[in-house]
Symmetry: C2
Subunit: 185 residues, 2 copies
């Protein structure tokens, strides 16, 4: 993504910055949605490859079983048995190719795709929700101070509301900076 | 199988021939059982290969979808897009390999294995049951003739029973020959 969102702007909290954050969020939501779909497709390929590996192993085992099937009327060197002996190394080889393929798919595709959805995208959702929360807290603190200022305020009540507003603004600035920083990457 | 069972012996219907037919039948039952298991394993491999083909096609489609995802903040030549463009021909190639593999598995393995179980082995079961039936009919016809011979038989009843025995013996011989011939192959 481009670096349109600058940290200094986030601290200003202007309507323009808010609108820009909205644009970033829509892109992030699109990306989250797309990544989930891609991740599901990756998982399906890995699962299918795993099933193919197990099916090939089962086939190899069935071919091996022929030797242990006690037919009364066949000799050790009958045609079926000989053919199976020639076929088995190939099936075993295909089976081990399939095992390697499955491991590579899981390690190189499924793993990274899942990490992205479950770590990066989860972090986005966490920061987004945290931004909304501290924005709300900040607005509530400001409203409370305004209310106290209009009435005849006690010095203590006014001081408390001011402190709360200051703390919430600091919290909002921190959250906002981390969030904007994340969106920029 | 070896050719221990000779057609001339089948016509004699001696206890030795019966015992030999029994040995052939045990082998056929074993083979039928084994073939069913092998056929199931073949079908599982073909099914898994088909699922892998479809999963790879879905993955290729998901990668293609990225181009149509309307992000606000990415340009046409962003890194993800470029990487996907480089990756897509490979995924498409793997996808078409998988399609060819699936077709070959179905045509060369699944088909013949299913044919063997559903045609040859079904023919065995049909002939086996037909052998049992005509054996029974022959014995019943012989018993009926013996009963008529013991009582004072009318010429007509005796002649009918003799004809029935002759017909059933002919039927048994035919069935027996076809069955023995099948068992020998």
């Amino acid at each position: 993504m481009s670096n349109l969102l600058r940290l200094e702007d986030c601290l200003e909290d202007s309507p323009q910055t808010r609108a820009l954050i909205g644009v970033y969020e829509r892109d992030c939501d699109l990306l989250l949605n797309y990544s989930k779909g891609l991740n599901a497709a990756c998982k399906r390929v890995a699962r299918a490859q795993n099933e193919l590996t197990m099916a090939t192993q089962e086939l190899a085992q069935k071919l091996r079983d022929y030797q242990h099937t006690k037919f009364s009327l066949t000799s050790e060197d009958d045609l079926v048995s000989t053919t199976i002996q020639q076929l088995l190394p190939n099936v075993d080889e295909i089976s081990s190719f399939n095992t390697v393929l499955h491991t590579q798919l899981v390690d190189n595709m499924d793993y990274h795709s899942t990490e992205f959805v479950e770590k990066d995208m989860a972090e986005y959702l966490r920061l987004k929700s945290s931004f909304v929360t501290s924005d709300k807290q900040h607005e509530e603190a400001a409203a409370k101070l305004a209310k106290i200022s209009k009435k005849k305020p006690s010095e203590k009540g006014w001081q408390e509301a001011t402190d709360a507003l200051y703390a919430s603004r600091k919290g909002f600035h921190n959250t906002s900076m981390v969030y904007c920083n994340f969106l920029n990457n």
